[in-house]
Subunit: 344 residues, 2 copies
DNA sequence: AAAGTTTTCGGAAACGTTTTCGGAAACGTT
DNA sequence: AACGTTTCCGAAAACGTTTCCGAAAACTTT
């Protein structure tokens, strides 16, 4: 009563006085069925409201046409945008996309992955949580030939396909931009430093500073994190310590904006007192006052290529060589980082 | 080779020299199994890396412990936050949450729902797309006793459980606030007007205007939509037409921020030239300059109650009466709507 | 019209579980 | 020692499909 009876393939077969296998053939467009019986079956089946039960199909086919996506969070707009890109290509190929979030927690990340695995997704697209993690499980999966693609938060010790951003290069450009605007005492608000993404941005920062022979110390690179609150706290500390830089290159927009908030609170002007550059362009950058200079990543494109890489692996149906695609960005220069001299 | 063999219940049974049923019993904690054999089985099974195949289990049990969530989009932070609330309660009860987005399109919304249905989710939590929709399919599902809960974007003609926000009341408060600050010529940027959410916000706006005997015409209520771009366009038009209000009550933050952008472009000051109030508080409100007054919704709470309502229906396992929960918000007053007189 | 081919279909096994049913084993009671 | 209970377990059916195998039916060819 409460759960109504689904129309099954048996019902259709009985109704039409044919065998189950024939109905199945009709639905799977097999070669060994007469065209007119096929159409007759499809017609009646549709009238009866029959839809093949994907669970049963999955059980026998060992293929689900589902793919799983695991991201650390989706309150910042970055991951949602990537997911839209992923769906764009996958849905068109008949796949369904199941999204799970790890909440930046390694344990739930692992649990998510196992549930997806248990549900027989044909492959996964993963962005690692910021917590320290152990690679064993991923290595095992890869060894079994399980199709996985990583993006954004990758670990170079995991030999899987991945789509990344040239964090090094664009961190360099972002820093260079500040230097060329005349800033000298530049701090970097970095992400969690065990992530290669953060390491690469630090390297880019360093490279630019070295290139232009600008002196700096370890204290100029401050492990801040990824969220507004974290950026604000670090900035508040700097203000309290009266240890202000000329400019800050923040590892992402939220931390830059957190710094911005702290500065406003303290009556400091941007960029006159401290200039700011963000990273991974979010909607926020354009909306904030002053507008935030930021490196924008092609989120949509990242999602699309990750999906395509995954499809390639799935279709190779064996051990496709791991591939790394590096995508390009742009530096969007806005008021928050303009030259201190030219300010009116 | 490419897909490794999963350890099945048979393997475990053979290994231990017991029957399949016994292994099953061990895993399902049935009463008719001796305690020590149960433990022996669990131990060995775990060592062998056996995990019960949920697909097979679903097939026979007709219960999946999955629930589906369909939202129109997740680039604005509203829906992601709700989803986090949903997951919070559902995961703890052993459910998994599958998220799909309709992209504000009725057709894909329907397709999403059917895929979820085909995948035998035990229930769904839905927020309707903004496109005009036909209720037939939902009515059918409800008639079959399928557990569904709607939130945010609901349709009063669908007699299902829902969790909503008192849009009427809070639209009233938002408008009242502007009036009390001394603004008279107030416009409302509304959402798509076939959604009851939008209608209620309009009603609240009207009620406040009437209550304080402030004259207004139909032209003061402008169907704008939900996104930044839309707000900006409407505002640009008003500026071009030299048809400026004193204040705007926008149906959500993005449209308010769109208006803000257009105003800045045109050199207009907020709130001196036009005051602004948003709705459904997003992260943006605090970050924008000037900070945006906005009604905040308890997104997290909305998700949690929606999930609980759904669980109630699922467990009633029959036809639980539809329930409507209305949650409360707060009006966060910030600089964008302060009295024009007291500005310095 | 007989023989050989090709097309079309039905039967049955398989996918990995849960669950019903019945029976063996263990125990307690007389 | 016979009987009745209770506890524990195995065999087999079921869930709704796909697919392999073989055979009937429909064509060709001679």
């Amino acid at each position: 009563m409460s759960v109504m009876k689904h129309v099954t393939i048996k019902d259709v077969a009985r109704q039409l006085n044919v065998s189950i296998s024939t109905v199945s053939r009709a639905f799977n467009d097999k070669y060994d069925i007469r065209k007119d019986t096929r159409e007759r079956i499809l017609k009646v089946a549709h009238e009866m409201g029959y839809r093949p039960n994907p669970i049963a199909r999955k059980l026998i086919q060992q293929k689900t046409f589902n793919i799983g996506v695991v991201v650390p969070e989706f309150v910042n707009s970055y991951f949602p945008e990537v997911i839209i890109g992923i769906q764009e290509v996958l849905i068109e190929k008949g796949y369904q996309v199941l999204v799970m979030q790890s909440n930046e927690c390694y344990t739930t990340e692992l649990k998510n992955i196992q549930t997806l695995e248990d549900n027989m997704v044909d492959g996964m697209i993963i962005s690692l949580s910021s917590e320290k993690h152990n690679n064993d499980y991923y290595l095992q999966m890869l060894e079994k030939g399980y199709p996985i693609v990583f993006f954004n938060r990758v670990d170079e010790k995991i030999p899987a396909s991945r789509v990344t951003f040239d964090d090094y290069k664009w961190a360099y450009f972002a820093t260079e931009h500040l230097i060329k605007q005349g800033y000298q005492r530049i701090f970097h608000f970095s992400g969690y430093q065990h992530l290669s993404l953060s390491q690469n941005r630090i390297k880019g920062f360093r490279k630019a500073m070295d290139k232009f022979s600008i002196p700096y110390t370890k204290e100029h690179i401050i492990e801040t994190g990824f969220f507004i609150e974290e950026g604000r706290q670090v900035m508040e500390r700097l203000i309290a310590e009266n240890n202000l830089p000329d400019a800050i290159f923040a590892n992402n927009d939220p931390t830059a904006i957190g710094a911005m908030k702290a500065m406003k609170q303290a009556g400091l002007r941007i960029p006159e007192d401290v200039a700011l550059v963000g990273f991974s362009e979010s909607k926020l950058a354009e909306v904030v006052e002053p507008p935030l200079t930021s490196v924008s990543q092609p989120t949509f494109e990242i999602g699309k290529t990750a999906a395509n890489l995954l499809l390639k692996q799935i279709n190779a149906d064996g051990f496709a060589a791991a591939e790394t695609v590096v995508l390009n960005g742009t530096l969007n220069i806005r008021a928050s980082s303009l030259a201190p001299v030219t300010q009116d």
